[in-house]
C-alpha cells in the first residue's frame, strides 16, 4: 500500500478511536487506533517524530522508567521546551502511535520541540527500527519478568540494540555491570555518557548480582571506558540529595520518595544536559528537579482521614529491596499485596530473592492478593511475623484502614502492578485518589 498523507491518516485513526470507544474496547489510550494507523500508514510514526527540532529521546531499562521519564519531561519543560510524551501503560510502538494521534493537529503536525518516550525493553527494539532516537537513557538491567524475557543477558542485548540505533548520545548507568561492560559500549556510533553513584553510597546501592551477598558492588572495573561518570549522586541525607553534573555541584531537596529515584534523577540530569548542552546548568535544573512529584502509583502518598498511606509498587527483587530500604527509615503498619497476572509476572520465584529481614521486628499486618499464601510462606521461612493472610484485596485494605484509624500510625502497602490498580479502585471509597488511566 502506498504511504498516505498524514491528514488522511489522522482522520482515519481518529475515527478508529471513536469506534473503539463506542464498542467499549478500552478507554483513552487504546492500542486499536494505533493498530489502524500502523496498517494504513506505516510511515506516520517516523514522519511525525522526525520533524521535531530537538528530536526523539528514549528512556528504557528494567526499573524506574516511568518516574525517570516524568523527571526528564518536567526538567525540559522548565527550560521552556514543548515536550511530547507517552502516557504510562502505552510504552509500546502502537501505544506511541495512539498517543500521537491525540496530540497532532488535523494535518498531522505535532506542536512540540522534543519527544521523550518511555519504552519497554522489548518494544524499544521495534521502535528504534522505525525511529532513530537522538538520545537514549538506559537505566539498568535487572531480574524482572524473566517469564517474558527469558534471561537477563537477553534483556541487556535488547538495550544494546537501542544504544546501537541512537544517533547522538547514549546516557547509561555506569554502575550497572551489564550496561557498562565493554561488550555493551564498544562499537556504538553515538557518544557514551555515564551517570552513577559517588563513593559514599557504595554500600547502599547493591547490584542485582549482589542481592544475596550484601557485599558492596565491585566497581573496580566500573565507569564507562575507564572514566568515572560525569554525573553522580554523591550523597543522601533524608530527602536531600547532592548531585555533581559536569563538575558543578548542588543539593536538592526532593519531593520524590525513595533513594532509587535519586539515582534516576542523576540519569535524568545527565540526559537533559546531553540534549540541551551547557544552557542546562545544574543551578538551572535543580529547582525544577525538587518539584517533581511521584508518578501514579510510584511511592505516592494518599491521605486517608488524616493518616498517610503509601503505595509502593514492587516488580522485581532489586526494586522490592530498595523499597524496603527506603522504608526502613520510617516505620509503618505494613501490608504486602502480591498478584500474578501477566503484568505482574506469573513466576513467584522472585519473592525468594528479596531479603525481608528488615520486616522481622515490626512484622506484617496482612499479606493479600492472588498469591497471598506464597507471600505468607516466604515470610514464614524468613521468620517475619504475619498477623493475617487475606487473599481478598478489599478485605485486607479495610483491615489496614481500621488499624490506621485506631493507632494513627502511617500505613504502607507494597504491591505488584495489578494489585495496585485494584487497591486504588477500592481506595476511592475512602480517599481522594487520582483516576486510573
Amino acid at each position: 500500500m502506498l504511504p498516505m498523507h498524514s491528514a488522511l491518516t489522522v482522520a482515519v485513526g481518529r475515527t478508529a478511536r471513536r469506534l473503539a470507544r463506542l464498542r467499549g474496547r478500552g478507554r483513552g489510550g487504546s492500542a486499536f487506533p494505533g493498530l489502524v494507523v500502523e496498517r494504513i500508514d506505516p510511515g506516520f510514526l517516523a514522519r511525525t517524530l522526525d520533524a521535531l527540532p530537538h528530536g526523539v529521546v528514549v528512556v528504557s531499562g528494567t526499573n524506574g522508567k516511568t518516574t525517570t521519564t516524568k523527571i526528564v519531561v518536567e526538567l525540559l519543560r522548565a527550560q521552556g521546551l514543548k515536550v511530547f510524551t507517552n502516557p504510562t501503560g502505552s510504552n509500546f510502538v502502537r501505544g506511541v502511535s495512539a498517543a500521537l494521534l491525540t496530540e497532532v493537529d488535523a494535518r498531522g503536525r505535532l506542536d512540540a520541540d522534543i519527544a521523550v518516550l518511555e519504552l519497554d525493553e522489548a518494544h524499544a527494539v521495534h521502535f528504534v527500527r522505525l525511529v532513530k532516537p537522538r538520545a537514549s537513557l538506559l537505566l539498568n538491567v535487572m531480574r524482572d519478568q524473566l517469564d517474558r524475557f527469558g534471561e537477563i543477558d537477553h534483556t541487556a542485548s535488547l538495550l544494546r540494540a537501542v544504544a546501537a540505533a541512537t544517533t547522538e548520545v547514549v546516557v547509561l548507568n555506569a554502575d550497572d555491570p551489564r550496561l557498562s561492560a565493554p561488550r555493551f559500549t564498544e562499537g556504538l556510533s553515538a557518544r557514551v555518557e555515564g551517570f552513577g553513584i559517588g563513593e559514599s553510597l557504595r554500600r547502599t546501592f547493591l547490584s542485582d548480582d549482589d542481592l544475596r551477598r550484601e557485599a558492596p558492588m565491585d566497581l573496580s572495573g566500573s565507569g564507562v571506558e575507564g572514566r568515572a561518570p560525569s554525573t553522580r549522586l554523591e550523597s543522601i541525607e533524608g530527602r536531600t540529595a547532592r548531585f555533581t553534573l559536569q563538575g558543578e555541584q548542588a543539593e536538592v531537596e526532593m519531593a520524590l520518595p525513595g533513594i532509587h529515584n535519586m539515582l534516576n534523577a542523576a540519569g535524568a540530569l545527565a540526559l537533559v544536559r546531553a540534549v540541551l548542552g551547557e544552557r542546562a546548568a545544574l543551578a538551572q535544573l535543580a529547582p525544577a528537579l525538587s518539584q517533581v512529584r511521584a508518578a501514579f502509583g510510584r511511592g505516592e502518598l494518599i491521605d486517608v482521614g488524616g493518616v498517610p498511606l503509601e503505595l509502593a509498587l514492587v516488580k522485581n527483587p532489586a526494586g522490592f529491596r530498595m523499597a524496603l530500604l527506603s522504608s526502613a527509615a520510617q516505620r509503618a503498619t505494613t501490608v504486602i499485596a502480591i498478584n500474578d497476572q501477566y503484568a505482574d509476572g506469573r513466576d513467584m520465584s522472585w519473592l525468594w530473592d528479596v531479603d525481608f529481614t528488615a520486616l522481622r521486628e515490626s512484622g506484617v499486618l496482612a499479606v493479600t492478593g492472588v498469591r497471598a499464601y506464597d507471600m505468607a510462606l516466604r515470610l514464614r521461612y524468613e521468620e517475619v511475623p504475619v498477623e493475617s493472610v487475606e487473599p481478598d484485596l478489599g478485605a485486607a485494605l479495610r483491615l489496614l484502614l481500621e488499624r490506621g484509624r485506631a493507632d494513627r500510625e502511617p500505613m504502607r502497602i507494597y504491591c505488584t502492578y495489578t494489585a495496585m490498580l485494584a487497591l486504588r479502585a477500592e481506595l476511592a471509597q475512602f480517599a481522594d485518589v487520582e483516576a486510573v488511566l
Partner: protein, 260 residues
Amino acid sequence: MSTENGQARGPALRILQLYPEQMNIYGDWGNTLTLQRRAQWAGFEVELLEHEIGGQMPSDVDLVVGGGGQDSGQVAIAPDLRRHGAQLREWAEADVPMLMICGSYQLFGHVFVPAAQDAGSEPLQGISILDVETRGSAQRLIGNLTVRTEQFGEVVGYENHSGLTSLGPDATALGRVAPFGEEDSTAGGNNGADGTEGAISRNVIGTYLHGALLPKNPVLADWLLGKAVLHRTGEDRYRAPEIDESITREARRVAMSRPR
C-alpha cells in the same frame, strides 16, 4: 541423646550450596533457606557451606544443592564442576542427597549441546551423575507446572528453560507432567514432548522446577533432610517439624489453579 521432636542435638548437618554467585537466578536460594529452617525446626543444627569457582570443595557434606543460572553462568561453572566431578560422584554413590535445579540439573547430566542457532557455542560436558542429556532449542518452556510423582505425590513449581532434556536408560523420571487445563499436557517438563519431568537416581534429584521448589513441596524437603540425617548419623531419625502446614497447602492449591 535424642528425643521425639525438637530436642535432638547432634553433629550439625553440613549443607553445601554449589555456585551461589552464578547459579541462583530464579529464587533457588529459597531451597537452601527452607532446608536450613526445617532442619532447625526439627531440632538439628545446620552448617551452610558454599562452593564458588576456583574455591576448595568442602569435605564431609550431607546434602548438596544447586540452582539455575544464565547460559553464561553455566559456561562459567562447567570447567570447575568437572574438576570436582569425581568427588561429587563419590558422594552420590555414598547416598548423599542432592537437589539440582535447571542449569545445575543439566550439568549433572552428560552434556549440554547448544542450539544450532547459537553458532560458535561448544557442547558443555557435564559430570554424568544423572543419565540425561540436554539440547538447546529455539523455543522456551515457561510456566506453572505440576508434576505427579510416585514418591512425593504432586510436586508444584515454575519452569523456565530452553534446554530440552532426554532421559537415558539408567535415569528414572522424577514424575510426569500433570494435564494443564485445556492445554497439551506434554507442553512442559524435561522436553515438552514425552511428558516426563526431572530425573532421580539414588538420592540425587534433578528438576526444572523453580518456585522456589522446596517451600511449596515440604515432602521433598523432608525427604532430602531425612537422607542427610541418615548420612550424618547413620540413623533414620529425622522427623518433619510439627508446624501448621495450612499455609503451605493453600499456596500449593493456588499455584496448581493458576494459568500456565
